[in-house]
């Protein structure tokens, strides 16, 4: 990736003309003709309504759409704030890669937005995907107000989701990051966020842009970086809005590996920030909360349990290299349960996750293999969660998630004791 992506003459001219902006809102897009209009309208309306006296710039960072997305975005833009278009090429492999939610080449788009924010001297910056569903003008207030008026450096989204949605987040990423860093940010994998100008500059100086490999899960990376740097982190209720999935659900193995791999990778980088943390605390939360979805949805629990059981049977040699003997024995003991009374205790789950984090750190097996070997474990735990909370209301689901988090916190010594131990 070049050091400066704002190399288009037209864009540079537009940025020079804008000269200065207090707020920059980035909208990454790729072939989002069907949704880009409402998204741009919501952003433009939100900025005009909530920040009427503040100079703002909307930047559509398009990854090479062939359906006229940038033109539609410009057409939809209205109000006092200009919409600029930055075109960047998404590499063919990224275009083909299905997996982590969001756009292929989203990292390039984020970097362009951060660079524009830096050049314009913005105090606050927000990012919303061009194919997000359910966006309202109030999102701008929820994501940007805490930055401008409350001094937050990073504002994570907080969606009202169905109780079975986002189980990688609720069963792994949230409990793990909370136990590690002591901050209760519920949806680090959120997709849309607000951040301060200084934090945007800090992110731009990061080394990740110069790595030859794939970028990490950007939202997890930004959130963890903000927490580890001791910055002000908050979260904002965004209602039922959902990040775009381009009409297809994300591929589980890819999205799991990218999100969890990012958390594990950052544990190495930010060890001083999490090692001594023993207590956790809430972060400021903005906007009115909305209820968790409880309507019946189709979840193939049998398939989840069958994948877990196949993992117990077939992946035993792989798990033995990564997990402790005690964990392997306990997992094998779960195998005999029937689908209706299948249980995967939270303490065993936490122990397995910590073992995997240690194995990742100590490179006991190739990291890519390790992350994929965790998927049957995750599906087992997710199935147990679905069965356990099948008839629970929102409060009971929250209580269950809270209980899992407390187990992760209580078992953190398991991680600390083994992190630096010699490879067996």
């Amino acid at each position: 990736m070049p050091d400066d992506d704002l190399n288009s003459e037209a864009l540079a001219r537009e940025l020079d003309r804008a000269r200065r902006a207090e707020i920059v809102v980035g909208i990454p897009s790729l072939n989002s003709a069907r949704t880009i209009g409402p998204v741009v309208e919501a952003v433009a309306t939100g900025l005009a309504r909530h920040f009427p006296a503040v100079p703002c710039v909307i930047l559509n960072a398009d990854g090479g759409s062939r359906d006229g997305t940038p033109e539609l975005a410009q057409h939809a833009a209205g109000g006092p704030n200009p919409l600029l278009v930055a075109r960047h090429e998404t590499r063919p492999l990224y275009r083909l890669a299905a997996g982590y939610p969001g756009f292929p080449g989203r990292g390039d788009a984020l970097r362009i937005v951060l660079q524009a924010a830096e050049r314009l001297g913005a105090r606050a910056c927000a990012l919303v995907d061009g194919d997000v569903r359910g966006i309202t003008p109030d999102w701008m207030q929820r994501l940007l107000d805490p930055v401008i008026r409350e001094g937050m450096d990073f504002v994570a989204p907080l969606y009202a989701r169905h109780k079975f949605d986002g189980m990688i987040t609720t069963s792994l990423i949230y409990p793990l990051t909370r136990a590690l860093y002591g901050r209760r940010v519920r949806q680090a994998v959120g997709g849309h966020f607000g951040l301060s100008g200084p934090f945007a500059r800090r992110l731009l100086r990061s080394g990740i842009w110069h790595h030859a490999g794939a970028l990490p899960a950007l939202d997890v990376w930004m959130c963890t970086t903000a927490i580890a740097d001791g910055l002000q982190v908050g979260q904002a209720h965004l209602g039922a809005g959902r990040r775009g999935t381009r009409g297809a659900p994300e591929a589980l193995s890819t999205s799991f590996a990218q999100a969890v791999g990012t958390v594990f990778g950052l544990m190495e980088e930010y060890r001083p920030a999490w090692w001594a943390v023993v207590a956790t605390a809430d972060v400021p939360t903005f906007g009115p909360p909305q209820a968790v979805g409880l309507e019946p949805v189709s979840v193939n629990v049998d398939r989840m349990i069958s994948t877990f059981r196949q993992g117990v049977e077939d992946l035993a040699p792989v798990w033995r290299r990564a997990l402790s003997g005690e964990t392997c024995a306990a997992l094998a003991g779960l195998e005999g349960d029937s689908a209706t009374d299948f249980r995967f205790p939270a303490d065993l789950w936490a122990q397995a996750v910590y073992d995997c984090a240690i194995a990742y750190h100590q490179r006991r097996i190739p990291r890519r293999h390790l992350l994929r070997a965790m998927i049957p474990l995750y599906l087992g735990r997710a199935a147990a969660f679905v069965l356990h909370t099948a008839s629970s209301d929102a409060a009971a689901v929250e209580a269950e998630i809270e209980a899992v988090c407390r187990v992760f916190e209580a078992m953190k010594p398991h991680l600390l004791d083994r992190w630096d131990a010699r490879r067996p």
């Binding site: 999205s255 196949q310 190739p366």
Partner: protein, 236 residues
């Protein structure tokens, strides 16, 4: 006459043989032992110097960073990269000195064998490298196949993974044999027939027995609906 005959026909050749044997033992065999001993010393020294140098240079950290440590671990090799390099150097030096020690015996057929061995040595080393790489790649692909199959819910995942590993190993052995020039045409023909048959059999089996499965997999992937067959939920 009898005494002359005994001296010239029996004792003289025996004396010559004993002289030659003593000369051989005192000169050639001793020389061979000395060469071997020097070889052991040189090999050990090379191994120690190399290990120290690599440790000073942080070779293990470098390998860890670039995935070599992972590859060794994948192949079930418990040694550190420095340990592996040290052993490779030790045995390479030993092999050279072993051949030299055979030359020190100064036996005509052995000399011929030694000169052939020296010509053959690079090919043998290349074949060994191919075998080692093939083994590492085979183990890696075996695990990758196993993980992908289990996560996709495919039955007989272990059989599938072992098949992949076996095919890679067979292919590697064929390449190694090709390298050392053993049965080139037979190896080529055998593997062409074997791979062709396996491919054709798999195509027939999939086409006839798994049409519905193939259709459902393709539909799921092309439409993007419920890709993993886990339901309507979003995991992230």
């Amino acid at each position: 006459m009898n005494n002359n005959y005994w001296d010239t026909e029996i004792l003289e050749p025996l004396r010559r043989f004993v002289d030659q044997a003593v000369t051989f033992l005192l000169h050639n065999f001793l020389a061979m032992l000395v060469v071997l001993l020097v070889g052991v010393l040189v090999a050990y020294t090379a191994r120690i110097v190399l290990s120290l140098g690599l440790r000073l240079l942080g070779f293990d950290r470098f390998c860890e960073k670039h995935g070599v440590g992972n590859a060794l671990a994948s192949a079930g090799i418990a040694l550190s990269p420095t340990g592996v390099a040290g052993r490779v150097v030790f045995w390479t030096v030993m092999m050279v000195f072993l051949v030299l020690s055979l030359a020190a015996l100064d036996i005509a057929p052995m000399n011929d064998l030694v000169s052939r061995l020296f010509v053959f040595l690079p090919q043998l080393l290349a074949a060994l490298v191919i075998l080692v790489l093939g083994y590492v790649v085979g183990v890696f692909l075996q695990r990758a196949t196993l993980l992908a199959s289990v996560n996709a819910g495919l039955p007989r995942a272990r059989v599938l993974a072992s098949t992949v590993q076996t095919l890679v190993l067979l292919f590697t052995v064929a390449m190694a044999l090709e390298q050392v020039g053993i049965g080139r045409s037979i190896v080529l023909a055998t593997f062409s027939v074997a791979f062709g048959s396996v491919g054709l059999a798999a195509a027939f089996a999939f086409g006839y027995a798994a049409r519905d499965f193939a259709r459902s997999v393709l539909e799921r992937h092309l439409t993007g609906a419920d890709r993993e067959g886990l339901g309507e939920i979003s995991h992230l």
